[in-house]
């Protein structure tokens, strides 16, 4: 980093809100040539909004943004790309069937004087570029044959080929192993040496230590602090990332837990989940957390039979339960309320009542369904969890996210399951709806159901869970009792690198 140079990006007091909710609040930021500037913060801290403004997808409500001294007034992805700001999103891969060279020059083809594709020249140019990045990648190999870190390198090469001055990397190591991670970090350093400014977003603090010249912490849309790479410590960053007022937490009522009722023994699947075991009691709400891809959703899918496991045993009560498909799971009183409700939970073409009985079809006696009966039963849920809808025939796509989620919950509760897995039950829904969901979960626990709540929302985990299990790299790394649940503890286990390696 060289502060004597003019900044590549200079942002003053930038704010952005969506329908009354401020997601970015008075943020100022600088990026200098050759600097790796890390951006850290919890989910919802405003990182992705920040990136989207810089890449031209959003227009800020107020604030000044200068790119290489030029005041930006018009926000369009194309404008920002032409200014040399290139964004590489996590797990956004290029065309896996095409060669490395073709990917690098996609849309900006290398042509001969006659205007036709010149593949030989293209390959040569790609080779030169890759060599200059000190990468040993064959430009004529198919991208699909490369490993994850090489694919990322190709994406970076593509950005350089398009004359990038600023590179925004959004969790580039999200799906990487250790060696691949090292590779990517060293490329990032090398690229920075060329005078390119890099904004690096990561949940992994160990990476931040390795690569950052400066670190900026965002929390609830505000900039909390900016540190030089040399002054940061893990504790300091986590404290800045957390630091929330405790009144925001939901206060739940305590429930007496019953006997041990469930045991998961050695659930595993190659490349998906390492051997995992735990036990649960009746009336317990067990929180599961960890980064996306750490194994929590994977575990839920294995339990529910949505993905076939390589091995493992499930005991409910004293009975061993065999589940090889969601169909069997439902029959055995297990349900999974998936995270992506629109993609995996709802039938958007159809009405509220139609959706409500969609997991109940197999439970109707005989060959017929009884929609009227279903609609009547839906009305009970409409009252119980405050679903705001014009009625059972209203098409579900016209409900708000929170109400859609409540219909999904009602759909699953109607199957009368005992073991309920909630995957991010309050993601993307407003505070009022969140409280309704919490109340419902407590109510279920009181009835002796046993509940897993997978969540990335730490205040939610702390408020709701009797116990929290933290997963990392497809394993359980910690099992914390209610008394010891703290935001710092959870973050330390799930993203901290040093303590548990």
């Amino acid at each position: 980093m060289n502060k004597k140079l003019a900044p590549l990006i200079h942002i003053e007091n930038c704010s952005k809100s969506f329908s009354g909710t401020t997601v970015l609040d008075n943020v100022s930021f600088d990026l200098y040539p050759g600097e790796v500037h890390c951006l850290v913060g919890e989910n919802g801290a405003g990182k992705s909004t920040f990136i989207k403004i810089l890449s031209g997808a959003y227009t800020p409500d107020c604030g000044e943004i200068y790119v290489m001294g030029e005041h930006i007034k018009h926000f369009e992805p194309d404008v920002m790309r032409k200014k040399g700001i290139q964004t590489i999103y996590q797990s956004q891969f290029l065309m896996l069937d095409l060669t490395v060279a073709e990917n690098i020059y996609m849309g900006d083809y290398v042509t001969s004087s006659a205007g036709l594709m010149d593949y030989r020249k293209q390959t040569e140019k790609a080779k030169e570029l890759l060599d200059s990045m000190e990468l040993e990648i064959d430009p004529s190999a198919a991208l699909g044959d490369l490993n994850i870190s090489d694919r990322h390198s190709v994406q970076i090469a593509r950005a350089l080929a398009q004359d990038a001055k600023v590179l925004i990397l959004d969790e580039p190591t999200a799906s990487c192993g250790k060696t691949e991670k090292k590779m990517i970090l060293s490329i990032v350093r090398r690229i920075a040496k060329r005078g390119i400014g890099i904004i690096y977003i990561s949940h992994h603090l160990d990476e931040v230590f390795e690569v950052a010249d400066r670190v900026t912490v965002l929390r609830d849309g505000k900039k909390v602090s900016t540190y030089l790479g040399s002054e940061i410590t893990e504790r300091k960053l986590i404290k800045d990332m957390v630091g929330r007022e405790t009144e925001m937490f939901y206060k739940r009522e305590k429930i007496e837990k019953g006997n041990e009722v469930l045991e998961i023994r050695d659930f595993h699947k190659e490349g998906f989940l390492n051997k995992t075991s735990f036990k649960m009691r009746r009336g317990e709400i067990l929180g599961f957390t960890g980064k996306v891809g750490a194994g929590r959703t994977e575990l839920a899918n294995l339990i529910f039979g949505a993905v076939k496991k390589d091995g493992g045993e499930l005991f409910i009560g004293d009975k061993k339960v065999e589940i090889h498909s969601p169909n069997q799971a439902i029959k055995n009183g297990v349900c999974l309320i998936t995270e992506d409700r629109q993609r995996t939970g709802l039938f958007l073409d159809h009405g509220v009542g139609w959706n409500f009985i969609s997991a109940y079809i197999n439970k109707f006696k005989g060959a017929f369904i009884n929609q009227q009966k279903g609609d009547k039963e839906l009305n009970q849920y409409i009252d119980r969890i405050n679903i705001s809808t014009k009625g059972a025939t209203q098409e579900i796509k016209y409900l708000s996210g929170g109400n859609q989620q409540k219909v999904v919950l009602a759909k699953w509760l109607h199957t009368d399951a005992d073991f309920i897995i909630f995957d991010e039950p309050t993601k993307g829904i407003d505070i009022g709806a969140k409280e309704d969901v919490y109340k419902l979960m407590i109510d279920l626990a009181r009835k002796g159901k046993f509940i897993i709540m997978i969540s990335s929302d730490i205040p939610e985990l702390m408020a709701m869970s009797d116990r929290v299990i933290i997963m990392k790299d497809r394993c359980i790394v910690a099992d914390i009792d209610h008394e010891e649940i703290s935001e710092e503890n959870i973050l330390l286990y799930s993203i901290g690198g040093q303590e548990n390696e």
Binding site: S19, G20, T21, F304, A306, S325, P326, N327, A329, I330, K331, L336, T338, R343, T344, G345, L346, F347, L348, D349, H350, G351, I357, S358, A359, I361, N362, F364, A367, F368, I369, T393, E395, Y398, S400, K411, D430, I431, G432
Partner: protein
């Protein structure tokens, strides 16, 4: 936090009607009424009872096939072997009758062949995990080849007693028309009120959510293709008895019109939506228009153009009516 209300998200058509499908069926009904009134003014031969039953007879086989097509499309699939299954099933029965088998045996064999074709289609779609479009495109050629082997390219005379396709009840109502109406009612009840019907919609609407809701996707897909073929087998028998002889391309041309009838009737090609009422009106529209054009002595090539324009127009209207992505 206050949630901003956005009333503009709901289209006017869906505020009046329960949903888009109902809105499209309504428009279809309006179109039908307009054409019928216009034809009544244009020619006095249209509204005669004989002509109306004639229309019913003319659309009977198309209607039966369109029911099968609609069911498969609602489940998110497509069956391009539709026409060739009719040909193969019909020719199997015809060949047996031609060789002196009894009507009962021949009809049974024709139906069994149809069902086997459907079973095979379903199994291949499930096992290959490939697009049903490609699988059934390939199988279309296979069934066509087998049909040619069965007939040897000849026109096969059927048993003289096999004439129910030309029979009329009380000397006025054509029997195929009655069969069509009965099948429409059965399919209507199945799709609307049975668990199997509900699963068909669920798989077509969102197969991942359907799987996670405990629906056995593969098994049901095989059922769907097999039931479709069973329906086509019935269509083949009606067609065969009406034609009086079997030939290897007897059903081939029905495929496109059957799919067209379903789509005009509001069945969405991506699956999940559509109703039997719509299909009935869609097929009726095709039938009335070709009947009208015949009565008005419009040359047949213009008829092709007209049907094509209606298909494109119907899809156009249904897509414009749909909500655009932001």
């Amino acid at each position: 936090m206050s949630e901003k209300s956005c009333p503009s998200r709901e289209k006017i058509s869906t505020r009046i009607f329960k949903n888009k499908t109902t809105a499209q069926i309504f428009m279809l009904a309006v179109a039908l009424v307009v054409i019928i009134i216009a034809m009544c003014i244009a020619t006095d031969r249209f509204y005669q009872i004989n002509n109306l039953f004639n229309i019913l007879k003319q659309i009977s086989i198309l209607g039966i096939a369109a029911l099968g097509a609609a069911m498969v499309i609602i489940s998110g699939g497509i069956d391009l072997t539709l026409g060739t299954i009719i040909s193969l099933s019909g020719c199997t029965a015809a060949a047996l009758m031609n060789n002196g088998s009894s009507i009962g045996v021949a009809v049974l064999a024709g139906m069994v062949v149809a069902i086997l074709c459907g079973l095979l289609n379903g199994a291949l779609v499930v096992l290959s995990k490939a697009e049903p479009f490609i699988i059934t495109l390939g199988m279309m050629s296979v069934y066509k080849g087998i049909t040619l082997m069965v007939t040897g390219g000849a026109n096969l005379k059927i048993a003289p007693g096999f004439t129910f396709g030309r029979a009329k009840l009380f000397d006025t109502v054509p029997l195929p028309g009655i069969i069509l109406v009965v099948m429409f009612l059965l399919l209507y009840f199945m799709l609307k009120y049975t668990r199997f019907g509900r699963r068909i919609y669920a798989i077509g609407s969102n197969s991942e959510a359907a799987y996670l809701s405990g629906i056995k996707i593969n098994r049901n897909k095989i059922y769907i293709y097999t039931l479709n073929a069973f329906i086509l087998g019935i269509g083949a028998m009606v067609l065969l008895s009406r034609l009086g002889s079997g030939n290897s391309i007897m059903g081939d041309s029905i495929m496109l019109e059957a799919i067209a009838g379903a789509v005009i009737g509001g069945v969405v090609m991506s699956g999940g939506r559509g109703s039997v009422w719509g299909v009935f009106l869609g097929v009726l529209l095709i039938g009335i228009i070709s009947n009208s054009l015949n009565l008005l002595r419009v040359p047949s090539f213009i008829q092709y153009v007209t049907i094509g324009v209606i298909i494109v127009g119907a899809v156009f209207i249904s897509n414009i009516g749909g909500s655009k992505k932001r």
